[in-house]
Amino acid sequence: MPSPVDPAAESPGRGGAPPPEDVFRRLVESVPDHAIFMLDPGGRILSWNLGAERIKGYAPEEIIGRHFSVFYSPEDVAAGKPERGLKIASSIGGFEDEGERVRKDGTRFIAGVSITALRDESGRLRGFAKVTRDITERRRMEEDLRRSEERFRLLVAAVSDYAIFMLDPEGRIASWNLGGERIKGYRAEEILGRHFSVFYPAEEVAAGKPERALRLAAAEGRFEEDGWRLRKDGMRFFANVVITALRDGTGALIGFTKVTRDITARKRAEEQARELASEREARLQAQAANGARSAYLSMVAHELRTPLTSLKAYIGAMRRKQAGGGTIDRDILRRLDAQVDRFGKLVRDIGDSARLEAGRGLELELADLDLGDAVRETVRFHALAVGGAPGARHAIVLLDSAGPLPMAGDRGRLEQVVSNLIENAVKYSPDGGPIEVALATDGRDHTLTVRDGGIGVPPAELPRLAERYFRASNVSDRHFPGLGLGLAICREIVERHGGRLEIESRLGAGTTVSVRLPAKGVRRGGFEPPTRGSEVRSSVR
């Protein structure tokens, strides 16, 4: 302790200032929060300050001269505590203590006490300086904090659904709870001090995942992820992990808290839900495909039953005529024959479609032929069929001024095209009218055109019209039976001949199908592949 004289000697207030002892005394007397007073060597009180008066409740005149043991509880006095304090202070220079003290009014408080022995230059004990603070409030707060921490520790320890633990800055496990034990399978004594990468599958450790998680948590304060983790027994579980960086008041990293939840069940449930949804989707698709297939088969059956029905009727009629001794109408025989052909064509169409479906093209039997001849014969056949009955609505008109149209081709297949186009023209002009079949040539290409004034095709559907199984919405709406095969097969046949099939149509105003066939495009033993695809377009007139 510096001599009180020295600072005073260097003080700028030298000369007019009061003596330094007096300044010091007044300073001490005015300190309000600390009781600062002197004891004589025997423990009697020699001085008293404002803080002492406040803390202990005595005025200076009430207390100066009394023994300081008056501040102790009777038990402490009986135990010799006051004397022991002085004894220790006098032997080693000082003594500090925290303990219960008694105020003048008898109430007790917690005091922080320090006693310092005061000796003169010769070393003789002159007395003691005693400083006492009321630390009741501080003690209470410390106790509250301790209790709160204890409660929190117990809470964390008891949580069993979450592994909640601490890591030191390097990632070693510094605390453990029941949840950690339950979820990860380690007891506290097995895991404390080990690195938390023990919870990661080997490949993730190799990929540096644990370090990365700590780095990100340290950099951003918090790191969260869902991922697979390992239990002590090697089983994997799917975890939700949150790592939070812990920093002290200066911002220095002191470790991490880690909260891990086992969400395997949730993940499984989600996966199951996803699987169920995709199974359901697949089932619906299969049902839709089955529905389309069964609708198609039902249409096939319908298409086959219709000619069978007229066959039965014609045969029934002949049987009756014969049984009644009458003669069989030649017209009926002719129609019977035509119905068998019709039936055969349907079967052929279905067979062709199966070939195309299987990715095999239609095979052509090529021969030199006159396209005009083939078309004329087919038109004649259909003109008889549609125009033969009284009140016929359709008239098939052949515009043929082209002369012979020689080409190499499959006559049967080309007649199939002409038949199909005429049948479509008849079918899709239910109000009747002329059906115009025209032939033309420019020497290089022969052109066959079949035009009707029927219901036409919605423009948006034209591009799909020659697709297999496609049927325009206005025919499927209006009860026109059909398989959606005819045009697709026609196009295939035409393209196999190196030609093109074009469709023009206006809804409600009719349809024109043009077929261009190269006069020399197909040679026996092979033909050039078509260089351009068939075109369908909606004409605007």
């Binding site: 319908h302 009727a313 609505r393 009860h479």
Partner: protein
């Protein structure tokens, strides 16, 4: 063809959009019925209203007015015609909402079965007290 207007003959209307079925049924029945044909419901309705029909063989699926459409149109007019409904689809009965005391037969039908059903439809019509339906009349 046929013996139109024969006094003893009942008048049979065949309604079908397929010309061969119309012709086939005409050939089959023209020696016992006065057969008239229509290619859709609209034409059939005109014949029924104008000529009077005793019994009809009605196809269900036709463009323009179809079989169910014709039956509904007859209902609206209060006209009841004994009918045998034919269809090339299997689920015949589901396709007709009103029963009309109808007979049903699936295509391709047996000729004798069809004839039996035409006879049965006619009996039903007579039991119900109806003569041949005429335009705007019976019902």
């Amino acid at each position: 063809m046929g013996q139109p207007g024969h006094a003893a003959m009942k008048r049979l209307l065949v309604v079908d959009d397929d010309p061969d079925i119309r012709l086939g049924l005409r050939a089959l029945f023209e020696d016992r019925y006065d057969v008239v044909v229509a290619r859709d419901g609209g034409e059939a309705l005109r014949l029924i209203e104008d000529d009077g029909i005793d019994v009809m063989v009605l196809d269900l699926m036709m463009p323009a007015m179809d079989g169910p459409g014709l039956l509904a149109a007859l209902d609206v007019r209060g006209i009841r015609i004994p009918a045998v409904v034919v269809s090339a689809f299997g689920d015949l009965r589901r396709r007709v909402s009103s029963e009309h005391g109808l007979e049903f037969v699936a295509k391709p039908f047996d000729v004798d079965e069809l004839e039996a059903k035409i006879g049965r439809a006619l009996c039903r019509g007579e039991d119900a007290g109806g003569g041949p339906a005429r335009g705007g009349g019976a019902g």
